[in-house]
């Protein structure tokens, strides 16, 4: 299968600070906005990207100022791929309990991975569990 025609690529290493998330988010979302991706697509990418980056900074790198997160992104006219990698020991996404279980639905946390999976077309973790790949197909205008 041939590669999509990438029209924009992004590769940044940012410090493990919650404050570092905003500029990355703004840059990627602005690209979608400039290319007239739908409001719903923007919401979906915004949500998944924020959850992935907050997880990387807080759970992956545990806010360690000596560690970084690595964000790569590439975009074709109708496809978006984002990878968020941290320098932590990783985790097993299959071991994350279902936050909608009756006994957990009122727990304040634990919904990030579920939201990523629901709002993106494909979400994959590497074997170590310290890198997540988010993929989104552009919603056609008439949907």
């Amino acid at each position: 299968m041939s590669e999509p025609p990438w029209i924009w690529q992004y590769d940044h290493v940012v410090p493990s600070e919650i404050g570092a998330i905003g500029p990355v988010r703004r840059e990627i979302l602005q690209q979608l906005l400039d290319r007239n991706w739908s409001k719903r697509d923007l919401f979906s990418v915004h949500l998944a990207l924020d959850e992935a980056m907050v997880n990387a900074v807080t759970h992956g790198n545990r806010l360690d100022p000596n560690k970084h997160i690595h964000v790569t992104c590439r975009m074709s006219p109708d496809w978006l791929e984002i990878e968020v990698a941290d320098e932590g020991k990783g985790f097993d996404p299959a071991a994350v309990p279902d936050p909608t279980d009756e006994c957990r639905v009122s727990h304040p946390g634990g919904r990030g991975v579920m939201l990523m999976r629901n709002f993106m077309d494909r979400v994959q973790f590497n074997e170590r569990g310290n890198c997540v790949r988010l993929e989104k197909r552009r919603t056609p205008c008439d949907e």
Binding site: I18, G22, K39, R40, F43, H46, L47, D50, E51, V54, P99, T100, V105, S106, H107, P108, G109, R111, G112, M114, L115, N118
Partner: protein, 117 residues
């Protein structure tokens, strides 16, 4: 009445109607402050009949959902009632996916929500 940086607080009858100053509730420091201000409504000002109006809110992270869940527990512990209204479709979908639409009493508009108290 106390000053709120993240909230607009008004009385409608005996219900406290709360609106959000931020269109996007996502910055961690803002979410922490939001959580403290919501808690203050119940724990310091003893407001037990609360309506959160989300009309101005365009984005909500899962960390913000956590603050709403914590508020719901505080209100229930105080014997009060918490309702939500005017949630935009994308955000409502987040509530449905996480099944939080079953935890919270969510009304389509403010009039319906007030009438239900």
């Amino acid at each position: 009445m106390a000053e709120y940086r993240r909230l607009e607080v008004n009385e409608v009858g005996d219900v406290t109607v709360v609106r959000f100053r931020d269109q996007k509730i996502l910055d961690d420091l803002n979410i922490q402050e939001l959580g403290r201000e919501l808690a203050r409504l119940v724990e310091v000002e003893n407001r037990a009949r609360l309506l959160l109006n989300f009309a101005s809110v365009e984005f909500l992270s899962s960390a913000a959902l956590g603050k709403l869940i914590t508020l719901d527990k505080k209100v229930k512990a105080a014997g009060g009632t918490l309702r939500l209204c005017c949630i935009q479709p994308e955000i409502f979908e987040v509530f449905v996916i996480t099944k939080l639409n079953r935890v919270f009493d969510i009304k389509e508009n403010e009039a319906d929500a007030l009438a239900a108290f």
